[in-house]
Symmetry: C2
Subunit: 165 residues, 2 copies
């Protein structure tokens, strides 16, 4: 029998994760959400995955557009995280008023100042309980300029992560 | 077209991740490997996923046993990470001579001093290029005692992560 929801959440609070904003744009509209459940799958072909709650407001836009960009936040981008996590009450394309945004190849919004942006095409969507697992092939990458600290989520709060020199 | 392997790896180096040792035991034998590609999928039912290279020595043991435990390492457990990443040349059950190990419900080895251990039953295995994605339902959790720093992997090296009070 699986553990209770509360026990699982308490366990996951002990697993630190990078904070990312996942974006999309296209015929299905522009949208985005904050996610920590992102990981590398394979480098041949270059593939990552993102777990998305079915109830996020932009879920249909991701399905319709078939593209996404994973923007990995720097420690200075807590505000962008809060907006795309829905904590400020702003929804839909208005979320993009926070932050500066560009594009690479798929048209999904790319955040200026992110540690890295992976612009990708969704190849497969798996349904798992409350969530969808989006598999996506990375078609373009933009690396941040410097060695900025990363924004992590750990024990139910933000922490900066610097790489010791 | 997906990006080249090197570009993808350079991008993933900018995505910090917790370091975990994934273990199994049962009729297929005892084994384990170090993984950063672990994430929460859904809390109903409590499910996580682990991406495993097909070539890890214990891959067949995971398939045969159908169980795994995700042990999230503390900053003090770099040595355990190195052993299970194969960096010390030790393979197979001899890896468990490093660290202190117990069990919860599935029989997969549980690491003393980990931040959290999630003992789980594999429900689904997906093939993606060089890797297998293992989905597993969490049947038992053991939380660490204190507020130890976590062990992160970021920009191709280990970093400790402490939660500011």
């Amino acid at each position: 029998m699986p553990v209770e929801r509360k026990d699982f959440r308490d366990a996951m609070a002990q697993l630190p994760a990078a904070v990312n904003v996942i974006t999309t744009d296209g015929a299905g509209g522009k949208g985005g959400f904050t996610a920590s459940a992102v990981c590398s799958v394979t480098d041949s072909p270059a593939t990552l995955l993102v777990c998305m709650n079915r109830t996020v407001s932009s879920a249909e836009a991701f399905r319709a557009n078939g593209v996404l960009c994973v923007n990995t936040l720097s420690a200075a981008q807590e505000e962008v995280s809060n907006v795309f996590a829905g904590m400020t009450g702003v929804d839909g394309p208005a979320r993009f008023e926070t932050g500066s945004w560009g594009r690479l190849v798929t048209g999904a919004p790319v955040l200026e100042g992110a540690l890295v942006a992976c612009d990708a095409r969704i190849t497969d969507i798996l349904e798992k309980g409350t969530h969808l697992v989006l598999f996506a092939e990375v078609e373009a990458v933009r690396l941040g300029a410097g060695e900025a600290a990363a924004l992590l989520y750990f024990r139910r709060g933000y922490c900066p992560l610097s790489r010791a020199a």
